[in-house]
């Protein structure tokens, strides 16, 4: 058993946890913004897939990871644009459209990938890490937390940027009002449709970025259905985080540990059926929901399309 708890192993486990957590974090932060503004964004899984696929394609042909992140985010935004048009502007049912978008994108990305690469799965070169001096020399924790790609640190910074946005800016107030009492925002002279659209597009960008990270850094390749429920986990995180970005971060890390543990246990060849091991993250979701689900406080107008002058 010494192998399992060696320093190297622990360090790898935590490194994996962070890598697994970043897409969840980005999805969760994105979903949180939509929900704050009153839009339940179930299409986020589809946005992640679009981001993963276009992110991979962008990086593969340009050879630049950063360009890949950019195309990935753009892919998410395109899907979000459809969502915003149908659910925010026209006011169709958010759950129906969200599911349709996710299913549609699952098929579409798989199909496009098949046309392009047939049955081969070309890999990207390993992402180069930004090593933070001094901190990365700490035993066990150093290599786990301070040798990641730059985008990881940016994602962490985003947590605090979002916190600031919600708490200290006019836009933050507008978003919250759009989700809690859209009519009040409207009569205060702010366009509810515009505010919600901005939120949904931002969600798309973040989810797309999360997807691109998943493919380009996490896996180094694109395979169909690569998001594997990460978007849905993001929805759970956003709902449990009670509007606080920092709780999304904690939740994402917790799930990240579970996901990483799953991989680690499989690698270590521990004598438990893999099916059981793979259930671990979902077990964690269940436990979190049972423990905190009741305290989740959702915006009053979540999921309800807004139309001026109706009652």
């Amino acid at each position: 058993m010494t192998g399992l708890f060696s320093e190297v192993f622990l360090s790898a486990l935590m490194f994996g946890a962070v890598t697994a957590a970043i897409p969840l974090l980005l999805a969760g932060l994105g979903e949180q913004m939509s929900e704050k503004a009153g839009v339940l964004n179930i299409g986020i899984e589809g946005m992640m897939l679009a981001g993963a696929y276009l992110g991979f394609v962008g990086a593969f042909y340009s050879g630049s990871l950063w360009l890949g992140f950019l195309t990935g985010a753009a892919g998410g935004v395109v899907v979000a644009l459809i969502m915003a048009l149908l659910c925010v502007r026209i006011g169709l049912n958010q759950i129906v459209i969200g599911i349709a978008l996710t299913l549609g994108l699952e098929g579409l990305t798989a199909l496009l990938h098949h046309f392009q690469f047939s049955r081969s799965y070309p890999r990207l070169p390993a992402a180069d890490a930004t090593v933070i001096p001094l901190l990365s020399d700490i035993p066990v924790f150093g290599p786990a937390f301070f040798k990641h790609h730059l985008i990881v640190y940016l994602a962490l910074a985003l947590v605090f940027a979002m916190g600031y946005l919600y708490r200290h800016t006019q836009l933050g107030l507008n978003l919250q009002a759009a989700g809690d009492k859209p009519a009040a925002l409207d009569v205060a002279g702010i366009d509810v449709i515009k505010t919600r659209t901005i939120a949904v597009l931002t969600t798309g960008a973040l989810a797309g970025l999360g997807g691109a990270y998943l493919a380009n850094v996490g896996a180094g390749l694109f395979i169909p259905f690569i998001s594997n429920g990460a978007g849905f986990l993001g929805i759970v995180l956003a709902m449990l985080a009670r509007g606080r970005p920092v709780w999304v971060l904690f939740g994402a890390l917790l799930f990240g540990v579970c996901l990483s543990l799953t991989t680690a246990m499989q690698v270590a060849g521990i004598n438990i059926p893999t099916d059981v091991i793979q259930m671990l993250p979902f077990l964690a979701v269940m436990i979190m929901l049972v423990l905190f689900g009741r305290r989740a406080s959702l915006p009053a107008a979540l999921g309800i399309p807004y139309e001026r002058g109706t009652r």
Partner: protein
């Protein structure tokens, strides 16, 4: 100028002028060619009962709704108020009937809502501005409390404050007193006076006569979407409060010329010796937080008689109907049907014995909107033979009887399977009538039976009620439409604050007598 219901010609002092503004909703004309002029330094009262179209009218002034016809002039210029933002920019601030604050945010955050999105909220600036305004108005506001922690009165002050912070020139208050205590109402009155003295224009919407007379400078009366008259400010000043009130009563309840609803009251002969079918003595109901109670209600109704209950809406009409039907617990008194006490019986048992109640809430309480017309006929007999046997719906039986009722009551429905909620108000009412007047009805309570119906259906419903009385049933007709009562009833009782303040035989001068009772003067 000056004479009743003449439109004061557009004045260059007017901030906002409405000319022939019409707004339609599916199946209803909410505003029918309304003219209105609003001036600085004046409280313009918009008076009318629920559903008169007051909120719709101000919806158009605040940019929430667009008129279908007519013009709106702001500062004399033709203006289309396209959005709430536009209305605010024009200096029109509205305190809506329903609270428009975000409960989860603080008062300050609510006041800041609407600033440019890229900015940090300017809290210090706001605090200074609020301090200045609250000082001049003599109110205090807790800027850093969450809105959900404030009382309704405090929330309302926040909304007024918001209009002031935004430099409104015209302040619209929609039914702002309905949530306030009497003291709060007085304070609001004082506040409005101070604001108009500062040169603001105020539109104050209410359905209460007393407030209109006490706080207004000018009154426009709305009735069923139409403006039926105006008391201009010159005239307002010349009259005492009581004279104003009786003038308003005349406008609200008086006979209009060329009124298509006017019909001669048919002379029915009621057998005076017959024993009353319904006897109510000292009926009482405890008040709740938002409904008035009832106290010592007593009356008799004989076979073939229609007893009217007149009164301003919200004075206990619904409570009376529900207490009689058994839907509301009475705290005292007795109700006798054909001499037998029924006050301890359940809703179903009372119905069984022939007491029927037609609610004014046709879709909410009266029918199940998503159920087909056919089932709605028998909602109150669910499970009973012949329409249900051993727990199974007898479709053939139901459809046969339903088709018969549809024919008999002239229900215009595409089919028996159509969900009742899709029908127009008049046809839903017919379904209710058919159900309640069916087998075994002896006493029928109607609550606002023609409310919201178009003219043809109104007249049809009234005829149906008259016919029912002619068959020897006892009718209690609750209505806020005095015209209706005068055209149908044998006697009219007036309800005010949950008590019957007088009963009038429906003969020559009943109109004035009832009108005086309604506003608290002896008949």
């Amino acid at each position: 100028m000056g004479s009743l219901s003449s439109l004061p010609g557009a004045d260059k002092r007017d901030i906002v002028v409405l000319e022939g503004v019409t707004k339609r909703f599916p199946g209803i004309v909410a505003n029918d060619s309304i003219d209105l002029s609003i001036r600085p330094g004046e409280v313009h009262v918009l008076l009318g009962e629920n559903g008169a179209g007051k909120s719709t009218l101000i919806g158009m002034l605040s940019g929430l709704l667009q008129p279908d016809e007519g013009r709106i002039l702001v500062d004399g210029k033709l203006t289309q108020i396209t959005s709430p933002r536009h209305a605010l920019a024009l200096g029109i601030g509205t305190v809506f009937q329903h609270m428009m604050l975000v409960p989860a945010l603080t008062v300050a955050e609510n006041l800041l809502l609407g600033g440019p999105w890229w900015q940090r909220p300017r809290t210090e600036e706001l605090e200074a501005r609020v301090a200045e305004i609250t000082r001049s108005l003599g109110i205090t506001v807790k800027l850093h409390a969450k809105v959900s922690e404030l009382s309704l009165g405090e929330q309302q002050q926040v909304e007024i404050l918001r209009a002031m912070v935004r430099n409104s020139r015209l302040l619209i208050l929609d039914e702002s007193t309905s949530m306030l205590t009497p003291k709060g109402i007085d304070e609001l009155g004082t506040l409005m006076r101070r604001l108009v003295e500062q040169g603001l224009a105020i539109v104050f919407i209410t359905h209460k006569l007393k407030e209109a007379a006490a706080f207004g400078d000018r009154i426009s009366v709305l009735k069923l979407g139409r403006k039926v008259g105006e008391i201009p400010s010159e005239r307002f000043r010349a009259l005492g409060e009581q004279e104003i009130i009786s003038e308003i009563v005349e406008l609200m309840f008086g006979k209009q010329k060329d009124d298509p609803e006017a019909v001669e009251c048919p002379i029915r002969t009621i057998c005076v010796e017959a024993a009353p079918l319904l006897q109510v003595a000292d009926l009482a109901v405890a008040p709740t937080d938002n409904t008035p109670g009832l106290s010592s209600i007593s009356f008799d109704i004989r076979p073939g008689e229609i007893l009217g209950i007149a009164g301003i809406d919200g004075n206990g009409q619904k409570q009376l109907a529900e207490a009689l039907a058994g839907q509301r617990v009475a705290t005292g008194g007795s109700v006798r049907l054909e001499g037998t006490a029924i006050e301890m019986l359940s809703v179903g048992e009372r119905r069984q014995r022939g007491l029927r109640y037609l609610t004014d809430d046709r879709l909410g309480e009266g029918t199940v909107g998503t159920f087909p017309v056919s089932i709605n006929f028998f909602l109150k007999q669910v499970g009973a033979a012949p329409f249900w046997r051993n727990g199974f719906e007898q479709r053939a039986e139901i459809d046969k009887r339903a088709a018969q009722l549809v024919r008999e009551y002239d229900v215009r429905t595409p089919s028996l399977k159509t969900p009742v909620g899709r029908l127009s108000g008049g046809n839903i009412q017919k379904v209710l009538l058919a159900r309640e007047l069916a087998e075994g009805a002896k006493v029928v309570i109607f609550n606002k039976p023609t409310y919201g119906l178009d003219l043809a259906n109104t007249l049809a419903s009234r005829q149906r009620i008259r016919d029912t009385a002619a068959r020897g049933l006892a009718i209690l007709l609750i209505s806020t439409d005095l015209e209706e009562l005068l055209s149908m009833c044998d006697r009219i009782a007036v309800i005010a604050n949950g008590a019957l303040v007088g009963t009038v035989e429906n003969v020559d001068d009943a109109r004035t007598k009832v009108g005086r009772l309604m506003i608290g003067l002896a008949a």
